[in-house]
């Protein structure tokens, strides 16, 4: 079987970031991954990705604006006709830099905002950033970029969704992503503090439906669910290594942001092999392609072609078996883990662990013991 065509490349340029967001999807041991790819290595990789059929290129991190070569990387990607998207916290940008990025051909900017309430926003981001982000949102529009605002939702801001939608409209965003926090990386460490209650989550859907109708054609509103509150798991990444790849700062090619946490998988680096060879042959990328790896109840389930058994990383992080049914599924024999997490969310306890180097050093030490609970 030949590998499918990849459409999307997520380039995590660096794990450096001035923000310390509690829900960050970066690996908790990010401080161990400091040996970043060079400009030349990224440029070669983008060319190889374009040859493979990749269309969408997301620059992210960490904070991608930390990389001094960002304009050069964008210019090259555009020369290969990739659709270039910058996913940024915004705090390192200014008008001059935005104009430079626009002149390099950057297609689109996604700016993260934490909340409409300054105190919560800065509690989540871990630094003062509220005013700066609003300034940058306005400058993004002024310089002429289409703007998407990304808001990660959790129990501290989910009740502010009406205000978040109104603010996005006032800022002239063409898209608003209301992404419920997915519990990987730092977010999993902070799950008890971040997960909304069922009542909070249930209140969200009618609000979003109404806003979608109101802003149709002017502002697109995308929302993702808390999968813990779904009956069936999400079709994670549209299938393992199917249309999507993530390249981490050190060069390893992953099917998603979190797969390096699964033991026994080997992910090749673009430092060592051409991207096309990696996409076809990598042991890690082939590990969960197709459905031969599935166990019951997935193996005989009619939903398996739709949700692919859910998320392999979540299965591993919560059950310690990456080939198990995603415990989010109501048919999973380990669904009790999810019920317990929901009960914990109702109690609302849990301390806050910020994404910073000190905490990363500490968490790296016990990484060999998976964070299953």
């Amino acid at each position: 079987m030949g590998a499918p065509r990849p459409y999307t490349l997520v380039a995590e340029l660096t794990y450096k970031c001035p923000l310390k967001c509690l829900y960050c999807s970066n690996p908790v041991n990010f401080h161990e991954m400091r040996d970043e790819l060079s400009t030349e290595q990224w440029i070669r990789t983008f060319s190889e990705a374009a040859d493979l059929g990749v269309v969408q290129l997301h620059f992210t991190g960490g904070e991608p604006v930390v990389r001094k070569d960002l304009p050069e990387l964008i210019r090259h990607a555009r020369s290969r006709d990739l659709y270039t998207n910058l996913i940024t916290g915004g705090t390192l940008l200014d008008e001059g830099k935005l104009r430079q990025l626009r002149d390099c051909g950057l297609d689109h900017i996604q700016l993260s905002v934490q909340d409409t309430d300054r105190r919560t926003a800065e509690l989540i981001a871990g630094i003062r950033s509220y005013d700066k982000k609003l300034d940058i949102a306005r400058l993004v529009k002024k310089v002429g970029f289409p703007l998407t605002l990304n808001v990660c939702l959790h129990r501290l801001n989910i009740d502010h969704v009406p205000a978040l939608i109104a603010q996005a409209a006032e800022l002239g965003a063409q898209r608003l992503e209301l992404a419920n926090t997915a519990y990987y990386g730092w977010a999993l460490e902070n799950r008890s503090a971040l997960m909304p209650t069922r009542a909070q989550f249930d209140a969200l859907e009618p609000l979003v439906r109404e806003a979608r109708a109101r802003y149709q054609g002017t502002m697109e509103i995308i929302s993702t669910k808390v999968d813990y509150y779904s009956e069936y798991p999400k079709p994670c990444m549209g299938g393992w290594a199917n249309t999507y790849m993530v390249i981490i700062p050190t060069g390893e090619v992953l099917p998603c942001h979190a797969a390096h946490r699964i033991p026994g998988l080997h992910f090749d680096s673009v430092r060592e092999r051409p991207l096309a060879t990696i996409w076809e042959e990598s042991q890690g990328l082939n590990a969960f392609r197709g459905d031969d790896w599935m166990q019951e109840p997935c193996r005989s389930c009619p939903m398996k072609a739709i949700d692919f058994g859910g998320c392999r990383c979540q299965a591993y992080l919560l059950t310690k078996d990456a080939a198990a049914t995603d415990p989010v599924c109501s048919l999973s024999p380990r669904h009790d883990i999810i019920r317990e997490a929901i009960a914990q969310a109702e109690r609302g306890d849990g301390s806050l662990i910020y994404r910073d180097v000190k905490n990363s050093e500490r968490l790296s030490l016990d990484l060999r013991e998976p964070v299953a609970r």
Binding site: Y7, G53, Q56, Y83, D107, H108, P146, Q174, Q216, E220
Partner: protein, 102 residues
């Protein structure tokens, strides 16, 4: 055609409106499938033969009627009525996705 909003958009696109492709969307040739695709944040549409010709005229200068006229001239074998339907329904569809301005 069950959604009333879509019908409304179709009505809007049948007049003297001059649509312009949103700056967030880009028409590009796809070397793998050898046809045009419209790319925009997080998604892409693979296009049929007429859609790229419609989009090339969505620059704020041409009215919908003007676009229809141009396509009738270009695709001589096809009835005007069919082209009319094709243009208005395509424009309504991508407008609903926020990909047209003007």
């Amino acid at each position: 055609m069950s959604e009333p909003r879509l019908k409304e958009s179709v009505a809007d696109t049948s007049g003297v409106w001059r649509p312009r492709l949103s700056p967030k969307a880009r028409l590009r040739w796809d070397e793998v499938e050898k046809r045009y695709m419209l790319v925009f944040p997080e998604a892409a549409l693979m296009l049929n033969e007429t859609a790229p010709e419609i989009l090339k005229l969505c620059n704020g200068e041409h009215t919908v009627n003007g676009i229809i006229d141009a396509l009738v001239q270009r695709f001589t074998g096809i009835e005007r009525k069919i082209i009319e339907e094709d243009v208005t329904s395509f424009l309504a569809r991508i407008r609903a996705r926020g990909l047209l301005e003007g």
